[in-house]
């Protein structure tokens, strides 16, 4: 039974595309067949993060408009056999997407893949609403800052009202992925704490990805961090999140311990300097 998962946030720049790529790769590494669908028509990025920008021939809009067949547009990842990409068009805009067309493509993808991961554009307009329209599962990517949290809250409201599932009276499975978290800054009160974000959004936590240069390096190299640097804390956080998506019970204790360690290290350094 395949699952349609939207990765969304409302606000831009919080890490939707990075998280889509990393979660997709982590799921594929665990043997799932995964397709990443870039819904950011006009501002596509997922192909770059996946290192596939030179292999794009056809895209989502071509498939929706019938100019290409789905297998022609799908790009199979060179590192992971079970991971594919359906890129967005860079030369079109979101009006090229239709609800009916997106539904048709997603139905076709469901026949081929276990996970259809829809990388949503920022905002609450057509691109974002169509990316979430057919989702069974939603990953809400949030940074620990007030603007991101409020935008995520808005998106959660839309997930509960504007998706197919919500309209037919079912509930959509929502998960919170907290990214760019800096334990040291949170401890100093410069950043919202995990508990505060969870209290406001009232959505179960899928994972905490600590702010790290590994993520940026991986993106620039055209590889998800789970492939580029599997030992990094960020990669580990995505792997844990993917395991939770697969229903495994992965405790959160480890990242908390690491945060404390980092904080006390920092504190220790300061004490030594003084």
């Amino acid at each position: 039974m395949s699952k349609v998962m939207v990765v969304t946030s409302g606000k831009g720049g919080v890490g939707k595309t990075t998280s889509s790529a990393s979660l997709g790769a982590a799921l594929a590494q665990r043997g799932q067949s995964v397709v990443l669908v870039d819904f950011d028509v006009g501002l596509r990025n997922l192909d770059l993060i996946m290192g596939a920008e030179r292999r794009v021939v056809f895209d989502l809009v071509n498939v929706i408009q019938g100019d290409a067949k789905l297998p022609q547009a799908l790009i199979r990842d060179k590192r992971l056999e079970t991971l594919s990409l359906l890129p967005a068009s860079q030369t079109r805009d979101k009006d090229a997407l239709t609800e009916e067309g997106v539904g048709r493509v997603i139905d076709e993808l469901k026949e081929r893949f276990d996970w259809i991961i829809c990388d949503s554009p920022a905002g609450i307009e057509k691109g974002a609403t169509l990316a979430m329209r057919y989702a069974d599962v939603a990953v809400v990517v949030t940074n620990p800052e007030v603007s991101s949290v409020r935008d995520s809250d808005r998106i959660i409201g839309m997930l509960d009202s504007k998706t197919r599932r919500a309209e037919s009276g079912e509930r959509i499975d929502k998960h919170l992925l907290l990214t760019r978290y800096d334990p040291a800054r949170a401890a100093r009160g410069e950043m919202m704490k995990v508990e505060d974000v969870l209290e406001i959004l009232a959505v179960p936590l899928l994972g905490i990805v600590v702010e790290s240069p590994d993520v940026l390096t991986a993106s620039n190299m055209g590889a998800p961090v789970t492939l580029h640097n599997p030992a990094s804390p960020a990669a580990q956080a995505y792997v844990d999140a993917a395991r939770r998506l697969l229903g495994e019970d992965v405790p959160f204790a480890q990242p908390a311990a690491r945060q404390q360690g980092l904080f006390s290290r920092l504190f220790g350094k300061k004490a030594a300097a003084a």
């Binding site: 609450i124 409020r150 809250d153 409201g157 209290e199 406001i200 009232a202």
Partner: protein, 259 residues
């Protein structure tokens, strides 16, 4: 929508009496007006409307009615305006105003005294027949909670998210969960929030000054009861995060903590 009521005073003949005259007090009042938008074919529309009217005659009694003439005007032109208003008047409805036409289009007709520029916003209304397609049931926000027929209170069993607007003019609203920053709850009666109030809550659209707002944790942007309102910077930081009730007290808004 607001209908200002002037308490009239008797006129005195002598200008010297001016200091003896009573003060004229102006009071604001919110009443719920029903908006009707008859459309062509008129015979069908009025047949359907008469059926509703007969099913629940009390529903329209003493309710101010606003006629939305946009459909009639666009489909039948100028002469349809008089036809619609005459036909509505035959049914003993309390017309207070019209929408979608200019005052000059009513000039010279028996209807020229009707208000053409009523301010107000659409709220949910239960129609006597629970007809989901009824045109009189419009929401200020498509995400707002629908009100089921016959209810006098609305229970919302999940958080009210940023950007959502819950408008329930018929009575009390209870939210089991939080009301987020950027969300709003408007109720005809009182508002009960079993969670944090971080957005806006406005109570007493219909009940007036007797309505109250209760919340487990006050982090609101704005609270209001019966036309009085206050923003977060106008209450003490000491109330922040506490369980609070908001009420009208001798013409001003009072916030007090429970604990």
């Amino acid at each position: 929508m607001a209908v200002d009521r002037v308490e009239r005073q008797r006129r005195r003949d002598s200008a010297a009496d001016i200091f003896d005259l009573p003060t004229v007090r102006l009071r604001g009042r919110n009443v719920l007006a029903l908006v009707l938008a008859p459309e062509f074919p008129m015979s069908d529309w009025f047949t359907a409307f008469d059926r509703q009217l007969n099913a629940a005659p009390g529903f329209f009694a003493d309710r101010p009615i606003v006629a939305d003439l946009r459909p009639a005007l666009s489909q039948g032109g100028q002469q349809a305006i008089g036809l619609v208003l005459d036909t509505l008047a035959l049914r003993d409805l309390k017309l207070i105003g019209v929408e979608g036409v200019e005052a000059r289009q009513l000039a010279g007709t028996p209807w020229e005294r009707l208000a053409t520029r009523l301010h107000g916003r659409d709220t949910a209304v239960e129609t006597p027949e629970a007809d989901p397609d009824a045109p009189s049931s419009t929401e200020a926000d498509p995400e707002a909670e629908p009100a089921a027929a016959g209810q006098t209170s609305l229970l919302i069993d999940r958080p009210v998210r940023s950007g959502q607007s819950v408008v329930f003019a018929e009575g009390d609203v209870t939210v089991v969960g939080s009301v987020s920053s950027g969300a709003e709850v408007l109720a005809g009666g009182s508002i009960h929030i079993y969670g944090a109030l971080r957005g806006r809550a406005i109570a007493g659209l219909r009940a007036g000054a007797s309505a109250r707002i209760f919340c487990r944790k006050l982090e609101a942007e704005l609270v209001g009861v019966d036309q009085l309102y206050r923003t977060a910077e106008n209450w003490g930081a000491g109330l922040h995060g506490r369980a609070v009730q908001v009420m009208c007290d001798r013409g001003s808004l009072r916030l007090s903590a429970f604990d």
